[in-house]
């Protein structure tokens, strides 16, 4: 028997972010940190630098037994990211069956949405929203298949430096197939655009 406060603490502390999750959240914060934020504030800069150093040491200790996770293929990381967003089914920013309407809506994209040759004729566009893939601004198009199943097609400007070498549809290469959380994901390049399609 113990007091309720300590019993609750014991119960709650069983829930823990694993090292991979901590690394991902830390990376999220690191990407958002400006490089010249501490100008004119040397004390804060020193504290921030020390904090970053301590965090790096902590991360190294936590990640040492899990190095294989950080070497996960890029395609697997892309698949994990898009499946997470696919399963969220976030509200659409534009609801339309017209790709031209979506092109007009997504004015902030620095590429043109394409009508992929890999989509079957039964796929019905229902709308889209802004998103990102590996930090690159992208469009998330939601589709309904023949049986009403929801599929998500991500489009982003293809950059080999970011996404690595990928099969090109126009060269007759078949898409890469990856899986995350039981959801199949096809990845390819078409007309210079990165295409990622969840099943």
């Amino acid at each position: 028997m113990r007091d309720l406060r300590n019993a609750v603490r014991t119960r709650v502390e069983r829930d823990q972010l694993d090292s991979r999750q901590l690394q991902a959240l830390d990376e999220l914060q690191r990407q958002a940190s400006p490089h010249t934020e501490a100008r004119g504030r040397p004390a804060v800069l020193r504290a921030a630098t020390l904090g970053a150093l301590l965090m790096a040491v902590l991360m190294a200790v936590l990640l040492l037994p899990n190095l294989q996770e950080s070497t996960q293929p890029l395609t697997q990381r892309i698949a994990a990211e898009v499946v997470r967003n696919h399963l969220k089914q976030s509200p659409l920013e534009a609801q339309t069956a017209s790709l031209d309407d979506l092109r007009r809506h997504f004015a902030e994209l620095d590429f043109r949405l394409i009508d992929s040759a890999r989509l079957d004729a039964e796929a019905v566009l229902v709308g889209g929203l802004y998103c990102s893939v590996q930090g690159v601004t992208a469009a998330q198009l939601r589709l309904h298949g023949n049986g009403g199943d929801a599929r998500t097609l991500y489009q982003a400007p293809y950059m080999e430096s970011v996404f690595g070498p990928l099969p090109v549809l126009e060269q007759g290469e078949a898409p890469l197939r990856s899986y995350a959380k039981g959801v199949g994901v096809d990845i390819w390049v078409e007309k210079g655009v990165l295409m990622v399609l969840t099943e």
Binding site: M1, D3, L4, A7, Q21, D26, E37
Partner: protein, 165 residues
Amino acid sequence: MFDADQLQRLYRFGVSMSGDETLAYDLLQDALEAYLRIYRRAPPDHPMAYVRTSMRNGYIDRLRREQRYPEQDFDEQQEGMVDLSCAMLEDIIIAQEELDRLWSRLSSMERMVLYLWAVEGFTAKEIAAQLDAPRGTILARLHRLRRKLTQPVQARTLPQSGGAA
């Protein structure tokens, strides 16, 4: 920025709230992204509270989309409410196994209240502010929690002499 300890606390808040580890991580990630978008322009006074609020709002949005948002029956007329506070939980003793068994049966709100009281050390007033609920609502929840937690055979309140049973 949030260190590892703070991220763990936020995650545990999310798991306490939603009862789902995967969902809690998603809610935390979304809330952190939202925080990082605004913190340079308009840094919140209380970053941890801001992210917890963002996580809770995200959770409520998700429930509403799934049409699973629970009706809230805040009965503020329960007798003795005025005199109740988090102190009513302080003298409860319970077997760890009993709490573990009850934990998943508690509502999201009840788990959040217990989390904020036991882990973050909040008062009823602070819990009400964090959860954007009237203090009377929180007091009602504390009252019901006490009833729930002291009903099992293994749960006993401490004797008035203050010594552990």
